[in-house]
């Protein structure tokens, strides 16, 4: 990116002034910003691929009969759609945006371990290619959860092995990223950046780091056991030789539930960054926001069996898991109310990042309510494994994570490139995405209530109308995404430089670094003297108090 750097502060590390970037600068880079950039670009490509798979699923489901693809392909589409969207779109995007933004926000020059960071990036790319190879060699059949014995029985299925090896590589990559996030936040904060002066996005990075290093080992062990059972005759899950398939579900969801929070936590951080900027008010209840993230992350390790109420596990386990799951709604609700309170009597600017944040608040709330409904055992026993779950999960992951990711793209695009995305196209993008996603995912709730099972290619004609509606919604959503892609290309071709701080944000990444930032991020490491989000406050309250105390 240094060719677009406005002020060449960073020349001494290159040794000469007219430095032209070489291709190896990108492949061998250890600069968190470049690494973040590659993560983001790759993840967006995979988002398009995963979206295409979703499109094929919706075409198949537009009519009750199985007429577009055969059953094996359909299973493969479902498995790979989930895998790609979770492991190759949201997770790497999160890693990318944290790499780019978090060091800037804490006033650091880079991540704590730049080379480990690069290793994580390329292991991700290696794992992603391994997963993509399933398109050529046969897609895995067992869904993104790969429950045993679905995943252990068909030993000839090469797609399953590819899936296991690919996810293992991505898992190692995530652990490396997680270690880096934590140590960076703990050790590399600029002078004066105390714990409770950290922007909430930094808090979310820290919490995501914790979730990554503690949750990913569980999936590594689980898939190792599946691999050993598939090919070396070990028994862990096969009941014929004393194993237990429920063990797989325990191990998988011990990873799987925190994984959901790996996907949504950065969204919390992003929304908490954007809403104060466009409300011109400090975030409401800052400390509570930070603590609620920590509490959510902690609780997320104690909830896993809420995915297993109907699995046949010891029924005595169900009740505590139900109660804990409902408790996690409390800190999440606190965040919702705090975001709304931040906007309350603020001066709202409805720029594209804010529009998407508002969309997030609405859709994520629906997703959250669905989650509370699913958490209650008597209801869950009836609607688990139906389309209700699919609807809930997409409200949380699309309406939550992806909506926030879009907000982040519009918000930090000027920071990364120096150009601002076109607002009009952004509004079109939002309109199509918002209407399309609700049209797709809302009917799934009552489809599930009526009993339509998930992961099926053909269904009772009773469900035809709502499925057609969902498919039309999917098409609208897909069309909306074209506006974002067009926006990238038009904006980058126009090369119309925007202001250094187009949103008038008070974050360090905007006030102390150029857009795009120089290779070393800052000319001088900033010294932090105020709380984050001092919007509309003439004298920051703490500074005023300190000034008073010093008389």
């Amino acid at each position: 990116m240094s060719e677009t750097t406005v002020e060449h502060h960073g020349h001494q590390e290159h040794g000469h002034h007219d430095y032209k970037p070489h291709w190896s600068d990108w492949l061998f880079t250890t600069d968190a910003k470049k690494i973040g950039f590659i993560y983001i670009i790759m993840s967006f490509v995979y988002f398009i691929v995963g979206g295409a798979l979703a499109g094929m699923i919706r075409i198949e489901l537009a009519t009750p009969k199985m007429d577009f693809v055969d059953g094996v392909t359909y299973n493969g589409l479902v498995s790979m759609h989930g895998t790609i969207m979770i492991f190759m779109w949201v997770m790497p995007f999160v890693a990318g945006i944290i790499n780019f933004v978090m060091p800037l926000q804490i006033g650091a020059r880079d991540m704590a371990f730049p080379r480990l960071n690069a290793m994580g990036l390329w292991l991700f790319n290696a794992g992603a290619l391994v997963l993509l190879a399933t398109f050529l060699l046969g897609m895995p059949q067992a869904g993104w959860t790969s429950y045993a014995p679905l995943s252990t029985l068909d030993k000839k299925e090469i797609g399953m092995d590819l899936w296991i090896l690919g996810i293992q590589l991505l898992g190692v990559s995530s652990i490396m990223s997680g270690l880096n996030f934590i140590v960076t936040v703990v050790k590399l904060r600029a002078p004066g950046m105390t714990w409770f002066r950290m922007p909430l996005f930094v808090w979310s990075s820290l919490v995501v780091g914790w979730l990554m290093i503690l949750a990913m080992p569980a999936i590594a062990v689980t898939l190792l056991e599946v691999f050993l059972e598939r090919h070396f005759g070990f028994t862990f899950f096969g009941p014929a030789h004393g194993g237990d398939p429920i063990l797989y579900q325990h191990l998988f969801w011990f990873f799987g539930h925190p994984e959901v929070y790996i996907l949504i936590m950065p969204a919390f951080g992003i929304i908490s960054e954007i809403i104060p900027v466009f409300s011109r008010k400090p975030v409401f209840g800052y400390k509570l926001m930070a603590w609620s993230m920590i509490l959510i992350a902690f609780l997320s390790f104690l909830l896993w069996a809420h995915h297993m109420f109907s699995s046949g596990m010891d029924p005595r386990l169900s009740l505590p898991f139900m109660i804990l799951t409902m408790i996690i709604g409390v800190p999440t609700g606190v965040k919702m109310f705090n975001w709304m309170a931040t906007m309350w009597r603020g001066k709202l600017y409805l720029d594209s990042p804010m529009i998407f944040s508002l969309g997030f608040l609405i859709t994520f709330a629906v997703g959250g309510f669905g989650g509370i409904i699913l958490a209650s055992i008597p209801i869950d026993l009836h609607i688990t494994n139906t389309y209700f779950v699919v609807g809930h999960m997409h409200y949380v992951l699309f309406g939550g994570s992806v909506m926030a990711i879009f907000a982040a793209i519009y918000f930090w695009f000027p920071k990364m490139t120096g150009y601002k995305l076109n607002e009009k196209l952004a509004l079109w993008h939002f309109g199509f995405t918002f209407i399309g996603s609700n049209l797709t995912f809302l009917p799934m709730h009552w489809l599930g209530m009526l009993g339509m099972p998930r992961r099926v290619a053909d269904y009772d004609p009773l469900y035809a109308n709502d499925n057609l509606m969902a498919s039309i919604g999917g098409a609208i959503m897909g069309f909306g995404t074209l506006f974002l892609v067009a926006n990238y290309f038009l904006t980058l071709r126009k090369k119309e430089r925007c202001a250094e701080n187009p949103w008038n944000s008070k974050g360090l990444e905007w006030t102390h670094a150029s857009s795009p930032p120089s290779a070393n991020n800052f000319d001088e490491i900033p010294i932090v003297t105020t709380d984050p989000y001092d919007y509309g406050v003439l004298t920051p309250p703490k500074a005023a108090k300190e000034a008073k105390a010093h008389g």
Partner: protein, 279 residues
């Protein structure tokens, strides 16, 4: 800017490292090629093994170059600079790594406890301690006892190696570190022999029961951690002959030693839980 850099050096590490490094990329490519190679082996393609070996070779060369570079940086020849912040960063890093590894072993121990409980409920047996012929089979014996002695004493020697280094007794430090490495190698050797003895002489293979499978998985995972520790300690030992470590720069050894103690603790848990069934 140079002034502000040195002024703020405590919060600006790594600016001296430059912004590129070829080894992470190369190592990842090697690993990926090896995975695809193995895949082709499974598909019975003639180029499978060749690809695997090439990929693994590239990976190993990249990792070796990376480690060499780290040692060189410690020696100070590569950069001529040291990073004053690194010691505490390195300790934090290994701390969190250990936490992550705890969850890795935790998941496997959980597997063990779950299956043991499952056995009691469904088959009434405490565990399938049987070999292929159905004879009751005792896994505790001479080799686990020897291995325990090796690993525990290596934890002691690595600790005193660090002490010796801090007090500038360089020869003593090198001798103690060498002993640690030898003990680690003996442990791995003992484990390989134990496997051989179990599988060939006692017909106790991973396939005979859920217990056998869990036993082999856990001990192999642990053994691979010992092996990784041996490699790290060996590279430190080699580096020490080129003065990469000194009383003021012992951090690499401290970090490796923390990790080594952790591996030792896991072994003790393994002995108590799997071998002796105390818990």
């Amino acid at each position: 800017m140079a002034d502000s850099n040195s002024h703020n050096s405590s919060v600006t590490p790594y600016t001296h490292l430059g912004h590129t490094n070829p080894w992470p990329f190369t190592a990842s490519v090697g690993l990926m090629v090896a995975v695809f190679g193995l895949l082709l082996v499974a598909l019975k393609s003639p180029v499978g093994w060749m690809l695997t070996i090439i990929g693994a070779g590239v990976f190993l060369i990249a990792v070796f170059s990376w480690v060499t570079m780290l040692v060189r940086e410690d020696i100070g020849e590569a950069t001529g600079l040291t990073n004053p912040e690194f010691p505490s960063i390195g300790r934090w890093m290994v701390g969190f790594l250990i936490l992550s590894e705890t969850f890795l072993f935790g998941a496997l121990f959980a597997t063990y406890f779950y299956l043991r409980n499952h056995d009691q409920v469904y088959t009434g047996s405490l565990l399938h301690f049987y070999n292929l012929e159905g004879k009751v089979f005792e896994i505790w014996g001479l080799f686990p006892i020897l291995n325990t002695i090796f690993l525990v004493s290596s934890s002691v020697t690595v600790h005193f190696a660090e002490e010796a280094l801090r007090h500038g007794k360089e020869k003593l430090f090198q001798i103690l570190l060498a002993i640690t490495v030898v003990l680690g190698v003996l442990f791995v050797g003992g484990q390989v022999y134990e496997y051989y003895n179990f599988a060939v002489n006692e017909h106790f293979t991973p396939q005979v029961s859920t217990f056998a499978g869990t036993f082999y998985t856990l001990t192999t995972l642990h053994g691979s951690h010992v092996l990784a520790g041996v490699i790290v300690l060996t590279s430190l030992l080699v580096g020490s002959f080129y003065k990469s470590l000194s009383p003021k720069r012992h951090i690499a050894l401290s970090v490796a030693s923390i990790y080594w103690h952790f591996v030792d603790v896991i072994w003790i848990l393994l002995v108590a839980i799997i071998y002796l069934r105390y818990i």
